[in-house]
């Protein structure tokens, strides 16, 4: 009994988890800050991405209150003007200020990405953990679902789902979550599988915990770092996927400010030289995705250095 109890305090050998481990022996806000600075100092690129991330969050939170123009107000007298001091990113065919629209759109795009990643974490993460922990039929069913989704080119499946379920933002979130399901389920399954007979799990079992309680209280918290990395890695893809869907006319409808649809609206003007209408929302999209990818890579290098390529 004591043996097992001691074993439970050791981390699982397959996946060292540096971040929480450090937090245990010097707690407090100061230590957390020191740790964050250590991580960011280690990799300047990750630090830069983190700064960018804060900027995006800020734009999503307070952007709509700060922009100089109403993103929906048209002003035909000032239509199709290039970037200037009055309109930093120029104006579109209806005279709407592109800068205001790009900033305001951050909230919607960011929301879609966060919501779909959270949703797929709930669906894929839980299904994967259950599959890896229980094995047997649960494993087979989850594996079969994941395989079926993987049999489709992902963007094409997302198109089909949104077209079938209805053309709304909620369905874009759902479709993006569904196409990412296999990724999450597989990672969670693999991580749960190596822990199903770990010392701390056996200890919890011996102390009379039910299987469900072990799954949620012991296994899930232990695989969280890996799952968080997975979430930040797929966040960029989620934004791209959602913007691609709205680019082809699914989900978000005009005149809503959203990056994908703004690029679509500006596309026709690209061939006649009015580049700013499509360029700035496209660039915002690119910067956001770039930031999430760098951040994901950085986090992955910290949590799981062996998977670095």
């Amino acid at each position: 009994m004591t043996n097992i109890a001691i074993e439970s305090e050791r981390p699982v050998p397959e996946a060292p988890l540096p971040a929480p481990a450090k937090a245990t022996h010097n707690t407090g806000l100061g230590a957390a800050l020191r740790h964050a600075r250590y991580i960011l100092g280690e990799n300047a690129v990750t630090g830069f991405a983190f700064g960018l991330f804060l900027l995006i969050v800020l734009a999503a939170l307070v952007g709509p209150y700060l922009v100089p123009y109403d993103p929906l107000a048209s002003d035909t007298a000032a239509a199709l003007k290039g970037p200037s001091l009055a309109h930093w990113f120029g104006t579109d065919q209806l005279g709407r200020d592109v800068f205001s629209r790009v900033v305001v759109a951050t909230r919607l795009d960011f929301f879609i990405a966060i919501a779909s990643v959270a949703l797929v974490f709930l669906m894929g993460g839980l299904a994967g953990v259950a599959a890896g922990f229980f094995g047997g039929w649960t494993d087979r069913i989850v594996g079969r679902i994941a395989d079926t989704i993987m049999a489709f080119p992902l963007f094409v499946l997302a198109m089909g789902i949104v077209a079938a379920l209805g053309n709304t933002v909620q369905n874009i979130v759902l479709a993006t979550a569904i196409v990412n399901f296999p990724l999450y389920a597989r990672v969670a399954r693999a991580e749960a599988n190596v822990r199903r007979e770990a010392g701390f799990v056996q200890a919890a079992r011996l102390s009379g915990n039910g299987e469900m309680r072990i799954l949620l209280g012991q296994i899930l918290p232990n695989i969280m770092p890996i799952m968080v990395v997975q979430m930040s890695l797929t966040m960029g893809y989620a934004i791209l996927n959602a913007a691609g869907l709205s680019f082809i006319g699914l989900g978000v409808r005009p005149p809503t400010a959203e990056w994908g649809i703004m690029v679509a609206e500006g596309a026709a003007f690209m061939v006649s030289g009015e580049w700013w209408i499509a360029f700035f929302p496209g660039a915002a999209l690119m910067v956001a995705v770039f930031c999430f990818n760098l951040l994901g890579d950085g986090l992955r290098d910290i949590v799981d250095p062996q998977r670095r390529t």
């Binding site: 080119p153 089909g160 061939v271 760098l294 890579d297």
Partner: protein, 337 residues
């Protein structure tokens, strides 16, 4: 070898069944009454009832499914609501356009990514290694439709090097007599150099767009896999034996490093087939992707369903092909099977 191929083909069957079930469920999940939907907005109640019987929607779900599979087996993908044409026929005539674009994009991508990955791996932490990493990360971060538009702006509007982004061939040319459906190959068969050049000009920008998007995973995988192989014993032995560096890297290391790269191609194809839809929209490419987008705008579901099914079947087939290729390249796979 033959056994391995057969075995692998059997493994593709559950995927195909899954694909058929999902596409079936997608139609049944259509909001509202599918019969009213297929009858169009102006239909009377009797007309809707008639269509319901005609489509078999009054029957239980499993009978509907059997009918659906029967239709598929006959190559019947239903009719388009807007044009009334059979979807299968339309997809068949449009498929070569998409296939030509996607394949050329993949070829360009491999031609850039693999040498880049090898260079990065042979000079770790050099300028080329870092730029490989930056290019790869930037490549996946660029939305395809955005890359396409930038290329159009620079090469068509500004420099005037590229023709207008309007389809496969300038309107002054007539397409070559159809043999393969690929304009590049058909024009060569017909011996028509002018059409070949014109078709190539139209293809370059969209193919480059696809290539930029799919560069990243191939370059990264080549680099990682080359790094692993280059540090192995047999490469060290080859170097110690005094073989030329080029022979060591290409003949010894690269051939062994190719396997993971080929596996990555499966994932790359998933990206490419999806990105294809967006690129076709940007360049007004008359392929199956723009067919699906047009259908989406008209809320015409049958073409979209046919499109999703075609793409999925192609993707399953491609993965099968990649696995078989894997066995051809790596003799160990044959022994295991």
């Amino acid at each position: 070898m033959l056994m391995m191929i057969l075995k692998r083909m059997m493994m593709a069957v559950p995927s195909l069944i899954g694909v058929v079930i999902v596409t079936f469920l997608l139609t049944r999940a259509l909001p509202g009454d599918p019969a009213a939907y297929f009858a169009g907005p102006a239909a009377t109640t009797e007309a809707i009832q008639q269509i319901r019987v005609k489509l078999g929607l009054d029957k239980p779900l499993y009978i509907q499914f059997v009918r659906y599979v029967e239709d598929l087996a006959h190559g019947d993908l239903g009719n388009s609501l807007t044009t009334g044409q059979p979807v299968g026929q339309e997809i068949k005539t449009r498929l070569p356009a998409s296939a030509e674009l996607t394949l050329l994009g993949l070829i360009v991508s491999v031609l850039i990514a693999v040498p880049l990955g090898i260079l990065a791996a042979t000079r770790p932490n050099s300028l080329i290694d870092h730029s490989c990493r930056v290019i790869a990360t930037a490549g996946v971060s660029l939305p395809v439709f955005f890359t396409g538009l930038i290329l159009i702006y620079v090469f068509y509007y500004h420099l005037g090097w590229a023709p207008p982004p309007l389809g496969r061939l300038d309107i002054f040319f007539s397409p070559p007599p159809q043999v393969t459906g690929f304009y590049l190959i058909d024009s060569l068969i017909a011996g028509d150099g002018e059409v070949f050049v014109a078709a190539l000009k139209q293809l370059i920008l969209p193919a480059l767009t696809l290539a930029i998007f799919s560069l990243a995973p191939i370059a990264r995988m080549t680099r990682a896999s080359m790094l692993a192989v280059l540090s192995s014993d047999f490469v060290r032995t080859a170097r110690a034996s005094g073989l030329a560096p080029f022979t060591v890297v290409i003949t010894y290391a690269f051939r062994n490093a190719m396997l993971p790269v080929i596996t990555t191609l499966g994932m790359v194809f998933s990206f490419l087939l999806g990105a294809n839809v967006l690129v076709e929209k940007v360049f007004a490419w008359p392929g199956i992707g723009s067919f699906a987008v047009e259908a989406l705008i008209a809320s015409d579901f049958a073409p979209l369903q046919g499109f999703v099914l075609t793409m999925a079947v192609m993707y399953v087939a491609l993965n099968l092909l990649i696995d078989i290729l894997y066995g051809v390249i790596d003799p160990r796979m044959r022994v295991e099977a």
